[in-house]
Symmetry: C2
């Protein structure tokens, strides 16, 4: 076992091609080495001209980090958020430049960032630090990555321009590790500011109170890798990662098995509309619109409780602020013993756990994001009990508020939002459940209600008046399922290529079960009160956008 | 807030269509109720004929669990694995039938299963339990789902046919919750047995020592929902879920953010071969072959450490025992400070953690699966240090063992296996890393080695001599990256639609970084020593198979 690659030994000669290639590579390497030598010679000449540079070894551009050798200096790299615990100590850290400015021939300031923290750095000329170094440091391009060594010093007046207000860094060494080209196609400081009011996809840049114009969502998304550097975006995706982790943490403690069901299907299954078709070794195949059939088939396979986190594909030509063609589904399905409300209880407890832990573990990020858009706190039921409102009761509330709709009509998006406001008023919560939806507006596999055959054992969950989850008890009997599929509008053939295996799996003793599917991006969007779902997808996909 | 759906009240009448539909549904419900009444009448007549049935209320088929009302009995359901702690107590549990047999008019036995546990149940006629009930219980079809109430009784002789050997259940009540049709297209007991020796996709059923013929992989996969009920399969997927959880547990403690990168791409990126094409609103789009470009773009976006668990699509026409067209990628990418070996250290520690915890938390499942195939323990380095073998050293070892190959040749699969055996012999470990691969056989974005320009800062990880991970330091400089892409074989256009955003993101100060991608199914396959990777995918996809 060795930590260093061996010299290319061995009895057999390498192949001719490999030798040729190796020879070529070596020649190039020699050329590079010669160029480097010339560069060094030039520099030492410049140094000689410029004999006063006492800091020659303390600044400059590092060669491309290609792991030149297998030794490491091992210098400890510090998190600048820990500055306070390093007062008066010398620390070394990687960071990037928010801005750099030369104040005078002897003084330069830099705002340095690392994650969500920023700190001020001072480069002051002295007998140990040259004016050349001050000039170099003060003129580094924004967004360049640096390795900085300096002393952590307490300041008398709090620094307003940085998140670390009580300390600054007195720079001793400063090297550019990766220089950012200028100009940047998008300023990260612009990405920190809100979107223009019109957050539709084709919005135009707008003015807001005489400041710099707000940058449109399209411009941001076209330059997404710079856009994502903004603290607001870093925070959004730390929260998104957190929601996934909390989802799994809660459910795995309750015995759920994480599964991965296929995204490529041999036949379109759930009705066939809004499905992406692909070429699969000379025949058509389709992208999964949800793991619905598969998670139920796993319950039929005795998995008892399954969860899945995975991409969901919808070929729906919806260009709204809350639709994506590819999003992340948080799915679960489980047996219940007597009543599907057992499963609703699990879903409600799951969401209360996620909200509670987001408040506890991700408060800083949550506040940072909500602050930009002046969004209210997310209200949770004080009793700890989530309002579980029968659909018919919801209809009644809407009618009493002046809405006109039938007993078995689906709610429009404005009606959903309206109902959310009414529920907030009555129950003081931004999170609630609607139960017992009309059967006709639910998928064919939904268990009809025993209370009223026009209703069903199905439910949706809402955050700030918008749907984040749809779920139901599913039919676990093959005969009834086939019957319901046939009389569905539009009818579905239970013996079709995309349905046969699914329908038949319920012939062999499947227990009663229910489940639900959450849209991860929607949970994040409505938790934070963001105006557009695209902000919660790293590289969003919609009917117009498949890049970057 | 109410737990019961309200009666369909409200001032407005429902729509005409809804009313019609509701009317129809009500008529059907009435018909069903009438049929049920007839059935009950028939039954009570039969009961009268059969006046001696003192157990009439203690057995039978339950009506379809459609959550008839919103009250629940709340009877506690017990895990039969906890039988020992319920000695002499009455317990109620859901289970399914492994087999049922009538011994005599007064005695029936059932083997009942719940998860990985099986228990024997006795139905014995007495003055409280009718012969009719004995007959009913003894003739229930295999795989039916039951709800059973009975006493837990210690037995004198250990029961060999069940996993619970010291206790049996004296049945008091037994109801069929979901009856399995007969015949089953696949016996679960057959699914518990090994695959025939030839595990290729088109293998034929074979005999083994005069027993029942072994069932082919194809037959099993065609009946996958029954196949998955086998304990061996349940164990495989509990372990797979565990590997995912352990991957995330280890990495999130180290600050990795879980990300979800797009699976639909506007242009084929990494070379363009082996990509599935799909129709995207009238233009072509492609399925991601890996999250490679995106996870690097996120490092350029200052995410520092990212991980992803998601589907990976390969349109490769490989019909082998270790290829799938859709598998689960465990990906990670991170900044490093000085040397890419920092990242290799993380990858090695990650895998040692996963192996250690699989041994600790999933020993039962691991032993169950390995037992079926007589697979050896997975050997880990005793020193805790993973052998990190330079590629050239590996070549040397192979040559010394008689293999013929050039210094810069890629290893064939048999050579990889051979090397695995040599490493096992020398270092006594089934897990090791090869480092510093020839540049020419790696992707264009791989950082060339400073030691020998024909080598690269790249590595693969192996389990039982088979590759499970490929990784490298990546080029984080836009100019060098474009240069390497152009001279790659075949050349890649760095300004193309699928590469431009990727190449350009390295213009703005990206830190040095490295990472790797694991195939989840391969980790599970080689951990357990399984003959075919399809066994580790719930619903495997290969060039021939897209169903179920």
């Amino acid at each position: 076992m060795s930590d260093a690659p061996a010299a290319s030994g061995g009895a057999e000669p390498p192949s001719k091609n490999a030798l040729k290639k190796a020879q070529k590579e070596k020649e190039k390497a020699e050329k590079r080495a010669a160029a480097k030598a010339r560069e060094l010679a030039d520099r030492s000449k410049k140094d000689a001209d410029d004999a006063a540079d006492v800091s020659a070894d303390a600044y400059g551009e590092l060669p491309l980090c290609g792991s030149k050798d297998y030794t490491v200096t091992g210098t400890k790299r510090v998190d600048i958020a820990d500055a306070a615990s390093n007062e008066d100590k010398e620390i070394t850290f990687r960071c990037w430049v928010e801005n750099a400015r030369v104040q005078s021939a002897k003084l330069a300031f830099l705002n340095l960032r690392q994650n969500l923290s920023t700190v001020q750095a001072v480069v002051a000329a002295s007998d140990k630090l040259s004016k050349q170094m001050v000039k170099f440091c003060g003129s580094i391009s924004t967004e360049s990555t640096l390795v900085v060594t300096g002393l952590v010093k307490r300041v008398k007046e709090p620094i307003k321009s940085a998140s670390i207000t009580d300390f600054e860094i007195h720079v001793q060494k400063l090297f550019i590790e990766a220089k950012a080209e200028i100009p940047l196609p998008l300023q990260v400081s612009d990405a920190e500011r809100p979107l223009p009011n019109d957050t539709a996809v084709d919005e135009q840049t707008q003015d807001e109170g005489g400041e710099r114009p707000l940058v449109s969502l399209n411009t941001r998304l076209n330059n997404r890798t710079l856009d994502l550097r903004a603290k607001i975006n870093q925070s959004i995706f730390v929260i998104k990662s957190g929601v996934c982790a909390l989802f799994q943490e809660f459910l795995s403690k309750r015995g759920f098995v994480l599964v991965h069901t296929p995204k490529i299907l041999g036949a379109a299954s759930e009705g066939g509309a809004n499905v992406f078709e692909l070429k699969y070794f000379g025949r058509p195949a389709y992208l999964a619109q949800s793991p619905q059939f598969y998670k139920q088939m796993l319950i039929a396979s005795r998995f008892q409780k399954v969860m899945e986190i995975g991409p969901v594909f919808r070929a729906e030509n919806s260009n709204t602020a809350r639709h994506l063609t590819e999003f992340t589904g948080l799915d679960l399905e489980m047996e219940f013993q007597e009543n599907y409300h057992e499963v609703m209880g699990v879903l409600e407890d799951l969401m209360l756990f996620i909200f509670g832990e987001l408040n506890a573990r991700y408060r800083k990020e949550t506040e940072l994001v909500r602050g930009v858009y002046h969004v209210d706190e997310f209200k949770l039921p004080e009793s700890g009990k989530v309002p579980r409102i029968p659909f018919q009761e919801g209809i009644k509330m809407l009618r009493e508020a002046g809405e006109e709709l039938g007993d078995y009509d689906d709610l429009t998006t404005p009606q959903e939002k309206r109902l959310g406001a009414l529920v907030l008023e009555k129950y003081n919560t931004d999170f609630y459940t609607l139960d017992q939806f009309p059967l006709a507006i639910r998928p064919a596999y939904t268990m009809p209600s025993p209370v009223d055959p026009a209703l069903s054992n199905s439910y949706d969950m809402f955050m700030r008046g918008q749907e984040i989850c749809s779920g139901a008890q599913r039919i676990h009997d093959s005969t009834l399922l086939a019957e319901q599929m046939r009389k569905h509008d539009p009818p579905i053939d239970p013996t079709g290529a995309g349905t046969k295996d699914y329908v038949e799996c319920f012939k062999y003793g499947c227990p009663p079960h229910a489940g639900g599917g959450f849209g991860l991006e929607r949970i994040v969007q409505f938790w934070l009160g963001l105006p557009n779902i695209r902000m919660t997808s790293l590289f969003p996909r919609d009917p117009q956008r498949v890049v970057p």
